[in-house]
Structures are given as C-alpha cells and as structure tokens.
C-alpha cells in the first residue's frame, strides 16, 4: 500500500473538490503545512470551509488562500494577525465560526475518535453557548459541542516514516495530531521522511493508521514574533 508521494501537488491529486471541509494543523505560523497550503492555492479549489486555530498572516500560511478568495468559512479561535481576514470578515465576504481554542482542538479529537458530541464548561454564559444544548452535571452547567469530521486534514510533522508514522517537534506539535485524526483523508508533510523502522515505536505521536499520504518538503518556518533576551 503506497503512502509516499513526491510533492504536495502529487499528494493532493484527486482529493480536492469545491465546497470541501479541510482541517489544518498549526498554531500561528508554527507547525503549519506550508507546502499543502500552497498546493491547495495552486489547485484553486473554491468555497472551502477550513478548521484551523488561526488563519496565517496575509502572505503566508492560510492567509494565501484568503487572498485568493478560496475560503468561504473559517472555524478558528484567533485571527488577530491577519488584516486581509479582518477585511473580508467585516465586509461579509467571509464567514467565521469562532471556537474557543480548546473546544476547537477537542472537536477535532472527538471527530477522529467517533465521538459526535461532548460536554464542556467552556463558553457557558457567553455567545458561544447560544443555540447549544445545555446540560447539568453535578450541579454545574455545561454545553454540548460537536465532533468535527473533515473531508481532508493537512498536517505538518518533523519526522515521518513510509508507514505514515509521525513525530512532531516542540510546540510545532499543537493542533497537528488532532487534525490528523479528524480527516476522512489525512495528508502529512514532513521535514524528513525516513524508512519504516527508523522511529522508536514508543515515541510515535501519530500512528500511521491516520495518515493516508505523506511526502517530504522544504519548510520556510517563518517566525511571527522574534522575541529575544540580552546575553
């Protein structure tokens, strides 16, 4: 069973369609599937619904799909870094469903785990709770949130093997393991693709069962806020 592809374009072949829902890993510009985002930009797929914590910046990450008006709707928790996003949103060109960050992560995890709904205290008493089912447990009120199942999930890992096993590095892990589980198809781009058996089985973050296609790609890894100390 071949999982290995040579490029984002090859790996995306046959899986994209207008109006689809995509779940993307990454936090800010950290650990984002740069190559796959560019591949989707190049493919020109339209009317996308994208579940991703952030929307990149204007000219990098998911921002490039916004610039090309390929995105109809975002499910995100924070979009403060993206001026184009704001503009499209405030002018009504773009829909957004704000999800608290932990709720978004858990919704991806739940969708991948066959859990269609779960209860959380997050957002009770706020606009997030409007229209959602409320239920009391032990005298406290919770709201129900639904699992996300995406048509495609796109993730970025540090190392991967030919069986699709993935390992992430530092805070570039973030939403990637959760997004990986919730796609009907999951494509992973890695900095280093290794032979099967090169990764320690105890230390694999995403088992290959979740990953349908994998390829090695170069990564710019742009830094959003370069903060340093003296010394």
């Amino acid at each position: 069973m071949k999982k290995v592809y040579n490029s984002a374009a090859e790996a995306l072949e046959g899986v994209l369609f207008d109006g689809m829902m995509i779940a993307a890993g990454g936090f800010g510009l950290c650990g984002i599937p740069e190559n796959l985002i560019e591949g989707i930009r190049d493919a020109g797929t339209k009317n996308l619904t994208v579940a991703s914590n952030n929307a990149g910046v204007d000219d990098f990450g998911l921002g490039i799909l916004l610039q090309d008006k390929q995105v109809k709707k975002m499910l995100s928790s924070y979009v403060g870094e993206n001026a184009e996003f704001m503009r499209q949103y405030l002018s009504g060109e773009l829909e957004i469903e704000f999800n608290p960050q932990g709720t978004l992560a858990e919704r991806m995890r739940a969708g991948g785990a066959g859990i269609p709904g779960f209860y959380t205290k997050t957002g009770v008493g706020t606009v997030i709770a409007e229209g959602k089912e409320h239920k009391d447990f032990n005298g406290e009120t919770y709201i129900m949130e639904e699992g996300i199942v995406a048509d495609l999930s796109i993730v970025k890992a540090w190392k991967g093997d030919r069986a699709g096993n993935l390992i992430y590095r530092k805070t570039a892990r973030n939403f990637n393991p959760n997004a990986a589980t919730c796609g009907k198809i999951c494509i992973a781009e890695v900095e280093e693709l290794l032979p099967t058996g090169a990764l320690d089985p105890d230390l694999i973050h995403t088992p290959g069962i979740f990953v349908h296609r994998i390829f090695e790609g170069g990564h710019e890894k742009r830094i959003e806020q370069r903060t340093v100390r003296e010394g």
Partner: protein, 209 residues
C-alpha cells in the same frame, strides 16, 4: 502614585505558591514571570502545547518550532514537556492548572469577564481565554483601572460580549487589588499613594468596603 506595569506584575507574582502550574496571558501577565518570589517553584503552561516555559531566547537560540501562545519565540527548561492542543486544553479544562493571570477589557462585580471582542470593531477571537477561565482553579485579572477615556473597567455589569460568566476571582489594577465577593468587589490592597476615595471615584462596580 499608583502602580506601573511592573509593580502590577510584581503584585500578581505574590499570588503564586510553590508547586503551582500557572498560565500567563499576553501583555502585562507575561511580565509576572519576572516576579516569581524567591523559593517559589512555579511551572508555566503555554496553551499551544507546553509545560515548563522558559525565558525569551538569546539571538542564537531562536527556534521557529518553539513559541508561546502569544506567538513569541521562547525557550525550554529541564522540566519541559510538549503535547498536542487537545491534550493541552484537557489539562486546562480538567482543572490541573491552578491559576490563570489574564488581561481584560472589562470585569464586572459578579466576576464576569470580557476580553475578546468589541462588536463591529475589534474581532480577534477568544483564543484559549474562554477555556482558561472556565477550567483553571483561580482567575486573576491584571489591567489598568480605567480605559483610555478614563472610564472604569471595573463595572456593575459588562457591556462587551463575555469571555466567561462569574469566573474572575481577583483583579489587580494600577490602583489596587480587588476580590470578587458576595455583593461586589472588596478592596484588599491599595497602591502606594492612592486613596480609597480615589478608588471609589474611579470605580463603577460596587465596592463592599
């Protein structure tokens, strides 16, 4: 003549207890890490997936794969561990984080907190703030007592969309420290050179003392 940002952060630092796992928000709360009291061992959580957040890197230590929830480059410590966003918020929602110290636009006397949007104007999103205030053991807000127009940010009721209802335990402003209690806010400390009358004058929320 009232506290500056660093004095507010220092005052917040005194809320930290040995062994605590703590989440610090963006802005003044981030400064609190500079004021962890001597002999108090605190582990900082960054909700993008890290426990044991270290200081900003030196120029040659910068790592694009290592940022905090404010997207700033940071460093790791001996005790550091990394995990996914779902696991990160599992520990937040599950009550494993003893305290969150956050900024705010408004706090109401019943503990309501608004810090994520101004309708029609500023819509950045709530990030992890709604999860934090719903999940952690104790929520402390650090903010200026008044907004740019000089109006109280401690209100009888919030006017902006809430981040959480009845979630704030304590507020540290440039004028003093306020505890959310039955019936309103209790002034538990007054900044140097500030009088209780000045606080009364600049506070919309009910003060119980």
């Amino acid at each position: 003549m009232a506290w500056d940002r660093n004095q507010m952060a220092e005052r917040a630092g005194r809320e930290l207890k040995d062994g605590m796992y703590v989440n610090l928000g963006i802005g003044i709360p981030t400064l609190v890490s500079n004021y962890i009291p001597e002999g108090v061992d605190v582990t900082l959580q960054s909700e993008n997936g890290m426990l044991g957040m270290g200081p900003f890197p030196k120029e040659d230590e910068i790592d694009a794969d290592l940022i905090n929830a404010g997207k700033q480059t940071i460093t790791e410590l001996h005790r550091t561990s990394y995990f996914s966003s779902a696991d990160s918020f599992a520990m937040i929602r599950g009550g494993k984080i003893a305290m969150a110290i956050l900024g705010a636009m408004e706090v109401a006397e019943n503990g309501d907190l608004a810090n994520w949007m101004i309708p029609g104007k500023l819509i950045k999103g709530m990030g992890g703030a709604m999860d934090l205030v719903a999940g952690v053991g104790r929520v402390i807000v650090i903010m200026d007592h008044t907004n740019k127009k000089g109006e109280s940010k401690l209100l009888k009721a919030c006017t902006l969309p809430l981040t959480g209802a009845g979630v704030v335990d304590e507020i540290i402003t440039n004028l003093g420290v306020f505890k959310v209690v039955e019936g309103g806010l209790e002034v538990i400390e007054i900044a140097d050179g500030v009088t209780i009358d000045e606080i009364r004058q600049m506070t919309d929320a009910t003060l119980v003392n």
